[in-house]
C-alpha cells in the first residue's frame, strides 16, 4: 500500500486531466486509423498522415493567423485530401503487407521532406503554435466523432468496409464498388486524422519531423490491434491500454516502464491473439 | 462392407482413422488396406475427404483417432501422429495434387532433392538420379531448366520421378490426372502401371477420373462425404449399379 502511495503520491488532478487530454488527442488520430483498418487498409505510416495535418495546422495558425475554430475543420479537409492522395497512390494499387510498407515509406519520405524544409523549421521543428487544445475542446470534438463512427458502423458503408476487409474479390462480386469504398475509407479516416493532427499541433506547440515516425505509427496500430476490429470501442479501449498501461505497470523509472510494457505486448499477443474486444472471426 | 484380406499380405493397414481440422471433421471411421503388389484407388465426389485421408497417411496432418500400420518388410511401424519427414524416411512417397515441383530449382535439382534428405550415400543418389533421367528422357532433355517452366505433364513426370529417387516402398498419389490433356494422362497412367510392375512399388491413388483409375487399380474404395461407402475389386465397382449412378456418372 505504501508503495502504491509512493507511486501515485506525486499525482495531482491537473496531472490526471493532462494525461486524459493527451489520451483523447491520441485517440482521435487512432480512430482515423481505425476507419482505414476497418476497411482493410493497413497503414504503417499513419503518423505521417497525422504529421501532414499537424504541419498544415501549424502553417495556418502561425503563417496565416487563421483562427483555431476555422483551422480545425480546414485541417480536417486537408486530411481528407491527403487521404485521397494516399488512396490514389497506394490504397488502390497495393494491399496487405505491401500497403503497410508503402504507407510507411510515404511517411518516412514526408519526414525527410520536413527535415529539409527551412520554411517548416527543418530538424529543429516548427514552433510558436498557440496552446489551444485543452480538455474542453475534446469534449466538443470527441462526441460527434463517436456518433459518426457509430452511425457508420451500423450502416451499409460500414458493412462494405468489413466486406472488403474480409475478401476484396468476394465483396466485389457481391456488388460492392471496391475502389469507391476504399476511397470513402481513406477520406473519412483522413478527415478524422486531420482533426487529430490539428489538435496535436495545438497541444504540443512545437512539432518536429521525427515525432511522426514509425514508432508513433506502430503505437497507434497497436492500440487498434489491442482493441480488435469489431467495433471502434475496441480502439477506445486499446488506446487506453496503450496510453495508461505504461503508467500503471511499474516504478517511476521510464525505461523500466517501456520494458515491462513491451513484455506486456508480447504476452497479450500470445494470450489474446484476436484483440481485447473482438469476436473470434474478426481477423 | 467386409474386406477380404485373408489372401493378401497387407503392407499398409489404416484402421478407423478420423481426420479433423479444428472442429471440422473431414473424414471419419476410415479403414483401408493395401496388399503386396497392389494399386488401390480411393474414389469419391469432391469434398468427400479423400485428400485428407491421404494427407493423414503421409503425415501431413495427424489423425485425431485410429491407427495406421506400415510393414516395410522387416518391422511394422505405427505411423499415426508421426510427422511427414519421418514417414518419408520409412519409404512412403507422397505426390500431392498441386504445387508438385519446386519451381525455382532446376529439373536436376528437383530430382536431387528427392533423395538428398533421405539417402546418406551421395554416390548412390547420383546414380539414382542418372538412372531416372535415362528412364524419363524428357527430364534429361530439360535438366537445366527451372521446374516452374515445365508443362503440366512434364511437372507430373518430374514429381513422380522425384518420388522414386530414394526407392520408396509405397507411393501415395493425389489426383495425378489433374490438369492433364487426355494423351498425357494416358502416358502418366501407363508410367504408373510400369512402376508398379517393374519396381514392385505399391500405390494408393486418389482420383476424380474414375474410369482411368478403375482401369489402373486392382481394388477401389469409395468415400461419401467423410465416410467409407464401398470397397472391393474394381470390376465389382464398375458393375455396382447404385454406385455407378452415384459416382461414376454413367
Amino acid at each position: 500500500m505504501q508503495g502504491l502511495t509512493a507511486h501515485f503520491g506525486g499525482i495531482t488532478w491537473a496531472f490526471v486531466l493532462d494525461l486524459f487530454t493527451d489520451y483523447g488527442l491520441f485517440l482521435v488520430s487512432a480512430l482515423g486509423l481505425y476507419v482505414l483498418m476497418s476497411a482493410g487498409q493497413v497503414s504503417l505510416g499513419h503518423a505521417g498522415m497525422v504529421g501532414i495535418a499537424s504541419y498544415s495546422a501549424a502553417v495556418l495558425a502561425v503563417k496565416f493567423h487563421v483562427p483555431f475554430w476555422l483551422s480545425l475543420p480546414l485541417t480536417g479537409c486537408i486530411g481528407m485530401v491527403a487521404g485521397m492522395v494516399y488512396c490514389y497512390l497506394l490504397g488502390w494499387r497495393l494491399s496487405g503487407f505491401y500497403l503497410a510498407i508503402g504507407t510507411f515509406a510515404f511517411g518516412e519520405m514526408m519526414i525527410n521532406i520536413w527535415l529539409t524544409s527551412d520554411y517548416l523549421g527543418g530538424a529543429i521543428g516548427f514552433s510558436g503554435i498557440p496552446l489551444l487544445a485543452r480538455w474542453p475542446v475534446l469534449l466538443i470534438v470527441l462526441p460527434p466523432i463517436f456518433y459518426a463512427l457509430w452511425r457508420i458502423e451500423h450502416s451499409r458503408i460500414g458493412l462494405a468496409f468489413r466486406a472488403i476487409r474480409d475478401n476484396e474479390t468476394v465483396a466485389g462480386s457481391m456488388g460492392i464498388n471496391v475502389a469507391r469504398t476504399k476511397l470513402m475509407a481513406w477520406m473519412i479516416g483522413g478527415f478524422i486524422t486531420g482533426l487529430g493532427g490539428c489538435l496535436h499541433a495545438h497541444r504540443v506547440t512545437v512539432i518536429t519531423p521525427t515525432e511522426f515516425g514509425i514508432y508513433t505509427s506502430v503505437t497507434m496500430l497497436l492500440a487498434i490491434l489491442m482493441g480488435g476490429l469489431r467495433t471502434f470501442w475496441g480502439t477506445v479501449l486499446g488506446a487506453a491500454v496503450i496510453y495508461f498501461g505504461p503508467w500503471l505497470t511499474t516504478t517511476s523509472e521510464p525505461r523500466d516502464r517501456l520494458m515491462f510494457y513491451a513484455a506486456l505486448i508480447v504476452i497479450l499477443m500470445i494470450l489474446r491473439p484476436q484483440g481485447l474486444l473482438a469476436s473470434r472471426a474478426a481477423r | 462392407m467386409p474386406i477380404s484380406v485373408s489372401d493378401m499380405q497387407p503392407i499398409l493397414t489404416v484402421d478407423r482413422i478420423e481426420v479433423r481440422y479444428g472442429k471440422v471433421v473431414a473424414a471419419t471411421d476410415i479403414s483401408l488396406v493395401i496388399g503386396k503388389g497392389e494399386i488401390v484407388t480411393l474414389l469419391g465426389p469432391n469434398g468427400a475427404g479423400k485428400t485428407s485421408v491421404l494427407k493423414a497417411i503421409a503425415g501431413l496432418v495427424a489423425p485425431a483417432d485410429g491407427r495406421i500400420a506400415f510393414d516395410d518388410g522387416k518391422t511394422v511401424h505405427e505411423l499415426a501422429g508421426k510427422p511427414g519427414h519421418v514417414l518419408a524416411k520409412l519409404g512412403i512417397a507422397h505426390v500431392p495434387a498441386q504445387n508438385i515441383v519446386l519451381p525455382r530449382m532446376t529439373v536436376e535439382e528437383n530430382l536431387e532433392v528427392g533423395g538428398r534428405f533421405l539417402m546418406s550415400d551421395r554416390a548412390a543418389l547420383q546414380r539414382s538420379v542418372r538412372s531416372l533421367m535415362d528412364r524419363f528422357p524428357i527430364l534429361a532433355e530439360r535438366r537445366t531448366q527451372y521446374a516452374g517452366l515445365l508443362s503440366g505433364g512434364e511437372q507430373r513426370q518430374l514429381a513422380i520421378a522425384r518420388a522414386l529417387v530414394a526407392k520408396p516402398r509405397l507411393m501415395l498419389l493425389d489426383e495425378p490426372s489433374i490438369g492433364l490433356a487426355p494423351k498425357t494422362l494416358g502416358e502418366i497412367f501407363g508410367l504408373l502401371k510400369r512402376i508398379n510392375r517393374e519396381d514392385g512399388i505399391e500405390m494408393l491413388l486418389v482420383e476424380q477420373n474414375v474410369v482411368k483409375a478403375l482401369e489402373l487399380a486392382n481394388r477401389a474404395y469409395v468415400m461419401r462425404v467423410g465416410a467409407m461407402d464401398f470397397s472391393g475389386p474394381c470390376e465389382d465397382l464398375a458393375r455396382d449399379e447404385r454406385l455407378a449412378n452415384a459416382y461414376l456418372g454413367s
Binding site: 515509406a105 481477423r283 | 518419408a88
Partner: protein, 295 residues
Amino acid sequence: MAEYLFEQFLIGISTGAIYAIVAIGYNLVFGVMNVLNLSHGAVMMVGSFGVLLLFYLGIDNFWLAVAFGIALALVTGLLVERIAVRPLKGNWWNIKVATLGAAMFLENFVTRLTDGRPMPYPRPFKPVYYTIVGDFEVSNVQLFLIACSLGLMVAMMLFLRHTTPGKAIRVVAQNPDLAQCVGVNVQQTMVLGFALSAALAGCAGILNAVTFGSTYPFVGQFLGLKGLVILIVAGIGNVRGCLIVALVLGVLESFSVVAGGSQYRDLVAYSALVLTLLVRPHGLFGEEGRTGREI
C-alpha cells in the same frame, strides 16, 4: 574532388554491403516461416553490445569478443523465436506486433544497462592508409570491412546453394508441404533459418559498429528499416537481388550526401521505395506470385 568521391564510393559500398546482410537476414526468416521478424534490428544491436560486454568483463581480445557477440545475437534470436514467434502459430499480424514488442523490450533493456549513451567501439587493428593511385587512398579497416561483408554474402549464397541444410531451407521456402514429403524436418529447418538470420544480424551489428566507431541501443531501428526497404525494393525471397539493391542504395546514399548534405540520405532511400512500389509492386526482382498477404 575525385578522391573525395572515391572515398564516398567506398563508404557507400561498405554500408551497402552491411545493408545487404541485414536484408538477407529478413529474407531467411521470411523464406522459411513466411513471417516478418521485426526484432531483427534489435538482435543486431544485441550483437554489437555483446562485443562490448566481453571487453567490459575484462577479456581483451577483439576476435573472441566478436565470436561472443555473434553467439549472443544467435541466442537472442532463438529466444525471440521461441517466445514471440512459435506460440503465435503463423498469425502474421500478431507475429509482427509481438516481434516488435520483443525489439522494444531488448532496446529498453540495453538502454537500462548502459544509460543509453553511444558507446565507443574497439577497432580490429590500427588503421593504415594505402595509396592506390595518386591521391586515392584506402585504409586497411575499410578493406577489411568490405571483404568481411562481401565474404559473408558469398558464403551465405554458397551455403544455400550447395549444402544439405541450405537446400532444406530453400525447399521449405518454396513449399513446406513438399519439403516434408521429401524428408525435410520443417520445424528444425525453421529454427535453423531463424538462427542463421540472428547470427547474420549479429555480424551486421558488429560490422556497422566498427564502421561508425560506436554503437547505441537504438542503432537497430535505423539499420532494420534500411534492410526492410531493400527487402521490398529487391522483392521478397531474392538473395541476389538484395545484394544488388543494397550496394546500389549504399552508393546512392553516400553520393546524395555529397550532392546535398546528410539530410538527403534517407530521402533517397524512402523515395526509391515509394517509387518502386508504385511501378513494380512486387519489387524489382520479385515474382508476381508472392503477394504480401501472408507476410
